[in-house]
Symmetry: C2
Subunit: 394 residues, 2 copies
């Protein structure tokens, strides 16, 4: 997992916990074209406010990211901390401070201490290496149990272009936009408007379709850096083929990461695709799919491996999606459980129960009322989810 | 707990479980003025469809209610079963079948078996007694751990009027409208339009403000029967004082029952009032209060007795309510934890933690932006909630 012209590193800075990687740095040898998508939460953490301001130029060269402290709800002091940490990086690297993006994840509402950064940033810069991305993927984990990354190589007009994305996310995950950090590095030559549009579309089709617990964080961000080191023909409006290949790769990588995030949802034991078809329109289908995918009762039934279609139908009925209850069909994978709004009995339920014992399965709800469809990815709701979240700060 | 002219009884019918009260009957000696409010879920259980049709006349004389099976999502067969059980009651009591209301709670999607009803209804009718309401309150419990009732006596123009309400509800509870059954019996003389309006307003102010898990069931209903046996001066548009006394009593009783329901929420260990003040308008305040009260992360933090105001602010930020993050104040009971969007540190958090160790407390969020307010009642989200709901049908 290397990308031409990029280096990365992570160190143990002791920001909250001792003896774990908690501070990462991604560096591009030259200023890269940069695009970002940030949380829709009205309460945005200090680093995001700084990043959004700086990204106005469509350029970035370094990303400093820490776990253990979200630097959210920390007022003007938090904004100052975000600025100071970015200044440390800029000084060490001899670069423009305005090209440093900062990201934080962890506990909300605690002041960020500068000391660990002062001690760690020089070590961090000294450790920058082409193969440092695995360490960064580990450094940004909070309640994640596994690091998450995705890698693709594509061909743009005869030139090989590489893309690498790393992500974290496990709780506070829900569409609009899923609580998470994701950094995409590519050596592609691509103009800013195309990069921004591709990132936006790919986020909508992937990270905005996953849900762990219906909560949206103050710190979500997806950042893409394209440094052009591949030397491919520029991806711009005059290169639709190149644009298409690049966009397809980003969409595939973000979907890959989105599913990794759900599968690693806090306490999750199952990855479930909720698919609604036959709705009057796509909006209704999405509302229905999200309501089902977020229902605590549906999710605890998944955990109990119980084909409790009554809870699915109850969630459907309160979703606001138009439906005729007497037409609804429900399938677990290929096994039909409900026809015309009525359950198909014990034998169907037994067959569905074996589907639910799998780690991955799809619930399909067919409203038989039109051609609207939507797909959302969720996980089950387990005892460990409660354990993790009742104890998280202790 | 007796109401002039009303009798009630409950028996063990073996509808789903053996050896527990699971079938109840409420009977008024004369046809009573009757009003109801039914679930907003688009999927409505068979009994509700029948009741809504029959209540068109504004009259009812008997209510048959069973637990163990919701008779929801059971198609035309379910509607036939609802009708047949009501016919059994009417035959036994020698009354008009159209004056029988039916209610069911329990598992969704399983056919209702008529046999237990055939055997039990004669016993049920034979047991009708003035003091039978406690038994009915027990018979309608599902995952409830305690029966729920509320009793008031008021004076209308010199005449004593009594009101008794019983309710059940513990999971699938959320505003709009909370999943539950509630039956109000009164000997008041009151005209139908006033009774219906008072019930509707009281539901909005009470049951629609509680949430356990954000789910809304297919079987929610509130039914009020007023048989006039008190002989008070009629409560109608020409009796504003009588109307006011009666409405205040109903509101107080429904609030009493609503709080009983939240306190007995599935797995709940704490009853929490979420109060939003200083919002730009009441709608925004309500949206903010509901989002906080439904957040799994906020509720698991309550369970962990963790004054995790960061999760409260994150929920607030995604609620859609207008807010300036730099003005937000948060209090646990009287103890301030957040000022101008920033936490007040370890000492404040310690003080808040002792508030959270209580069984009841209030979270107040002040947006300092206007005069909009809202109050919602919720509970914590515990390991037992998941245990109960992963195993509910087994």
């Amino acid at each position: 997992m290397q990308i031409k012209g990029f280096t990365a590193a992570a160190v143990k800075a002791g920001i909250r916990y001792q003896d774990r990687l908690d501070l990462g740095l991604i560096f591009s040898e030259v200023p890269a074209v940069a695009a970002g998508v940030f949380t829709t939460n009205k309460v945005k953490a200090a680093p995001l406010l700084l990043d959004m301001e700086r990204l106005g130029k469509g350029q970035a060269q370094a990303v400093l990211v820490n776990s253990g402290n979200a630097n959210a709800c920390t007022g003007n002091e938090g904004k100052r901390m975000a600025r100071e940490t970015s200044a440390m990086v800029a000084r060490q690297l001899g670069m423009d401070e305005g090209l440093v993006q900062v990201a934080s994840t962890g506990v909300i509402g605690q002041a960020l201490d500068l000391k660990p950064f002062e001690e760690a940033v020089p070590r961090l810069v000294a450790s920058l290496a082409a193969d440092g991305f695995d360490d960064v993927a580990r450094a940004i984990m909070t309640t994640d149990t596994v690091p998450k990354s995705s890698f693709r190589q594509i061909n743009i007009d005869g030139t090989e272009v590489s893309l690498l994305a790393i992500a974290k996310g496990s709780g506070m995950i829900m569409p609009d936009m899923a609580t998470m950090l994701c950094f995409l590095m590519t050596d592609a030559q691509i103009v800013y408007p195309e990069l921004q549009a591709i990132i936006r579309t790919s986020v909508d089709g992937t990270f905005n379709r996953i849900t762990v617990d219906g909560d949206t964080s103050t710190n979500d961000m997806v950042l893409a850096l394209a440094n052009g080191a591949a030397g491919n023909r520029w991806i711009d409006e005059d290169n639709p083929d190149g644009r298409e290949s690049f966009a397809a790769a980003v969409m595939a990588m973000f979907k890959d990461l989105a599913l990794q995030i759900v599968a690693d949802g806090e306490g999750a034991t199952k990855l479930v695709t909720v698919r609604v078809v036959g709705a009057r329109d796509d909006e209704g289908a999405m509302r229905a799919a999200q309501t089902i995918a977020n229902s605590s009762l549906v999710k605890t039934a998944f955990f109990g491996e119980d084909a409790n279609w009554g809870r699915i139908i109850a969630a459907l009925g309160r979703s606001g999606c138009y439906l005729d209850p007497d037409r609804v069909a429900i399938y677990f994978d290929e096994v039909q459980m409900v026809r015309d709004g009525v359950g198909l009995g014990d034998k169907a339920e037994e067959a569905c129960s074996s589907v639910l014992r799998q780690d991955h399965f799809t619930v399909t709800v067919d409203l038989q009322d039109g051609s609207g469809t939507a797909e959302v990815y969720t996980c089950d709701f387990s005892l460990d989810y409660v354990r993790i979240n009742a104890d998280y700060r202790s």
